[in-house]
Amino acid sequence: MPESDAARETGTPADVEQRVLAVIARAMDRPVSEVKPSSSLEFDLGAQSLDYLDIAFSLEREFRISFPRADFMERAADHFGEENLVQNGVITDLGLRLLAKGMPELDPAALKPGLKVTEVREMFVVATFVRVVQQLLAAKAAMDRTCPDCGATMAESASLPEFVCPSCGKSVPLRSGDDVMFEHVVGVADAVQADGGSRS
């Protein structure tokens, strides 16, 4: 893919951040000036569960990506087993280390023993969505654009998270956001385990 196409599809980090801020402002019916990367979705912007879904849908449309439906901790639980990350509703030491590594935008001071799993979502900030969008855009840019049926170069769909072959009409969906998120979790898990090994 020509470099100019990649740049247009992914945008610079600053462009992506501005677009995410604008999407969240629109979803929350607030002026964009009130939305900062450090804004807490719940405490600063008043987001409720439906708002998270609305933001995910809106980001999918804005960036033509497939946004994950499960959050980082849910995906991490798939990898490690929930009992290793949460005990009696409280995040374990391993869980805290995963969060610190995998969601670096979270306030490190809040990632302390005793943190309840129900409190994690309350810690989400706008930068959380910026990071996820950047990861999804990178995953999209890395996808093979060769049509599996006819070999032509596929183009992005104008309306859906998929590539469409201009030659034969074949459509190929983008990698799901949940898959990309899982890959992120595995990468973070490897890094955390390597850190743990080097400490011991």
Partner: protein, 248 residues
């Protein structure tokens, strides 16, 4: 000028019976209509031909709404063609009548798949668009049977009861985004689906209906059109009975 001018409606199971009447009614009131069907291509083509002949806009699309892949493709097609979605009518439904003691598990499952899972998938796939538009009207076809029950169709009755419960839940869940969710519960309507019961018991059924006649698909369609339109702007979470008084 119709109350649905400029709006886009998707009707699942729209090729015949009540679904067909709904497609025609919504188109008559100005909506562009996507006529979903599962297998009867000729029937669907006849519906869109009738709409187009009257100056309306319509497309057909084959999809089994119980299939996640198909439901996704159906919504994608709608958005590719019309770029918006204002009205979703979840009409696709089937019957597999049998006394429960003789009912096969497959009879139960296939009815639940189409009548409940199909509604769930259709609505879920429509939500991103409706939420971004900050509005929409979702209408599911229920049945008076959901409240009256009846011998020999526990699977169908349970599926329609599930729809009623789903409608009330979603009305609350989606109200913050301006999306209204309602159901229409027909009584005994003259369609292919009710052919068997009409053959065996029409006089007895008529006797129980205060209006002393069976309903026509167009009478159900007009109730759907009302709920779809701005005339019902303050109506959500309702089950609108179109029964001629049956069950009152």
């Amino acid at each position: 000028m119709g109350t649905l001018d400029g709006q886009v409606a998707l009707v699942t199971g729209g090729s015949r019976g009540i679904g067909r009447a709904i497609c025609l009614e919504l188109a008559r009131d100005g909506a562009a209509v996507v006529v979903n069907y599962r297998s009867r291509n000729e029937d669907a083509e006849a519906v869109i031909a009738e709409i187009r002949a009257a100056g309306g806009r319509a497309e057909s699309f084959a999809a089994d709404v119980a299939s996640e892949k198909d439901a996704r493709a159906l919504l994608a097609h709608t958005l590719r063609v019309y770029e918006r979605l204002d009205v979703l009518v979840c009409n696709a439904g089937i019957v597999r009548d049998q006394l429960l003691g003789a009912m096969q598990a497959d009879d139960w499952d296939v009815v639940m798949q189409t009548n409940v899972r199909g509604v769930f998938l259709s609505i879920r796939e429509a939500l991103p668009q409706m939420m971004s538009q900050r509005g929409g009207s979702i209408i599911a076809l229920s049945s008076i049977a959901a409240e009256r029950g009846g011998r020999g169709h526990a699977n169908y009755v349970a599926s329609k009861g599930a729809i009623n419960a789903m409608v009330k839940s979603l009305a609350v869940e989606l109200a913050p985004r301006g999306i209204r969710v309602n159901a229409v519960a027909p009584g005994i309507i003259v369609t292919e689906m009710t052919g068997r019961i009409r053959t065996f018991a029409e006089p007895e059924i008529r006797a129980q209906i205060p209006l002393k006649r069976l309903g026509q698909p167009e009478e159900v369609a007009r109730a759907v059109r009302f709920l779809a339109s701005p005339d019902a702007s303050y109506v959500t979470g309702e089950i609108l009975h179109v029964t001629g008084g049956f069950g009152v």
